[in-house]
Amino acid sequence: MNSIFTHSRGHGNLRGGMALVKATWASWVQYRSFFFILAFGWMIQPLIYLLVWTTAAGGKTIGGLNRGEFVAYYLVLILVNQITYSQTNWTIGDLVRYGQMNRLLIRPLSPFYDTLSSEMAGKVVYMIFDLPIVLVLALILRPEMYVTPINLLAFIPALLLAWALRFFWGYWLALLAFWATRADALLALQDSLVFLLAGQVAPVALLPGALRTAAVILPFRYMVGFPVEVLTGQVNTPGLIMGFVIQTGWLVLALVLTAVFWRLGLRRYSAVGG
């Protein structure tokens, strides 16, 4: 999967961008184009697959989904992906890399809130770009979606859990960077897994045997694909319950890992003498 930036360049742009959002909300007009280009970049992959699958489906169905349902799936995916996308890799990673761990020592919760606030700020900006585009695309491409009340009700917790999972999963991986020098490679691997198994290449139901099993077990589907499947009605009731169980399980693990690595990191940092 080609990303627009190489890893190091992406992190640099993002860091600069976030600092700008935080510091100069008033002049956001100027930097809007930068963020929109980023948001556009994240949208490209789902769009490509939307186009490919709908062309492939043609007038028929593939895996039980017709053209309109593929459109609906991917449009929702774009929005869910944006909402759950976590920038902790970059922001926490920078905190560690540039030796600002003393902030963690003095006020353990403040970096957490900082990260959170920059996440929120970023998401608002990106959504300003995404929503109109998705609406326009919906008008052009004519999605088909039947949302039952149960689906809608289940969607909201699924989405929130997905965001939390993606956030904390990214958090502990970023803290891992404090220990492992090859963390960059790990993050690249993570990106690829998200791409394959989270429902971007194809809705999880359409993945071939082994991949589908992997996707159902591993956490990546529950970061993006699962809420999308819930909303578009691709999950039946037993699947829904199963999904929530697995999702919550992974979230708990992510929280534990985050706490463990945080404490380990602090200990190592203060032992080294700051």
């Binding site: 890893h7 640099g12 280009i37 490209i44 699958w53 690249a188 691997l189 290449v201």
Partner: protein, 263 residues
């Protein structure tokens, strides 16, 4: 010839720069392999569900992926890094060091296009050609020498078109923030990883005539599967020549503007 010797020196010097950062090598290796893996799996997942789409089957689409990876590697070998060194985020225009480049007794466009190499891309090119090779083994129709020749012509013409587009975006930097255009282009270019036939009709037209990324990859792969016609090849060559002349002119015009507008 003087210019050939210069290219050799530039490649050698860039290699030294690359080698200065060993950690990057393993990371690049990882990225390349992951990129390959996810690309192939992506195509496999699609064709696991359906046999053909608009005349493109698994083998043909895989061949196209191979072309896409190869073209990407061609770009990242020299013209990408060189133009980037001029117009990119940390580039000379931005940092004000363009003056040094302008003062050299060497054609500026030559310097801007060939100065910086990323020899690791040769590995990426090998991967791309490897995928292409494996895919062509599965292509059921005949692969005559004519088809291979057509493929080569289409590949070179596609590379030339890509160069012209990137050069034009680089030229825009002389007037303003051209970097954004390149980012947008990179996004659109990703569409070239699938054959044009897998996209709806209107998009096919856009990707052929408005932002001709589609033909850069589809035409060479199509040459192997027999979809690309001779007329299309001729059109591609013509387009490549026209675009190179146009973007070179734009580049020189941009340089003149830069020289008269800056202080």
């Amino acid at each position: 010839m003087h210019y050939l010797r210069l290219i050799g020196l530039f490649a050698r010097t860039s290699f030294q720069e690359e080698a200065a950062y060993r950690a990057n090598f393993f990371l690049s290796l990882m990225y390349s392999l992951l990129n390959l893996g996810t690309g192939v799996l992506g195509v496999a997942v699609l064709f696991n569900q359906i046999k053909t789409v608009n005349g493109w089957d698994f083998a043909g689409t895989l061949a196209l992926l191979g072309v896409y990876l190869t073209v990407g590697a061609m770009r990242n070998l020299v013209i990408g890094p060189s133009l980037e060194a001029l117009a990119g985020m940390d580039g000379e225009v931005w940092s004000g060091r363009l003056d040094f480049t302008l003062i050299r007794p060497v054609d500026t466009q030559f310097l801007a296009s060939f100065r910086k190499w990323r020899l690791f891309s040769l590995f990426d090119m090998a991967l791309g050609l490897g995928v292409l090779g494996i895919a062509t083994m599965r292509i059921h129709s005949d692969l005559t020498p004519e088809r291979w020749l057509a493929f080569l012509i289409a590949l070179i013409a596609g590379g030339a078109i890509l160069y012209a587009i990137l050069l034009a975006f680089t030229a825009l930097v002389f007037w303003g923030p051209g970097v954004l255009f390149t980012w947008v282009f990179n996004g659109v270019f990703q569409m070239a990883r699938y054959p044009l036939g897998l996209y709806p009709g209107w998009l096919r037209l856009v990707l052929t005539w408005v932002i001709p990324v589609g033909i850069i990859t589809t035409a060479p792969a199509g040459a192997l599967t027999g979809i690309t016609s001779t007329g299309m090849l001729a059109g591609m060559i013509g387009l490549a020549i026209v675009l190179i002349f146009a973007s070179s002119a734009l580049f020189r015009y941009g340089l003149r503007h830069y020289k008269s507008a800056s202080s």
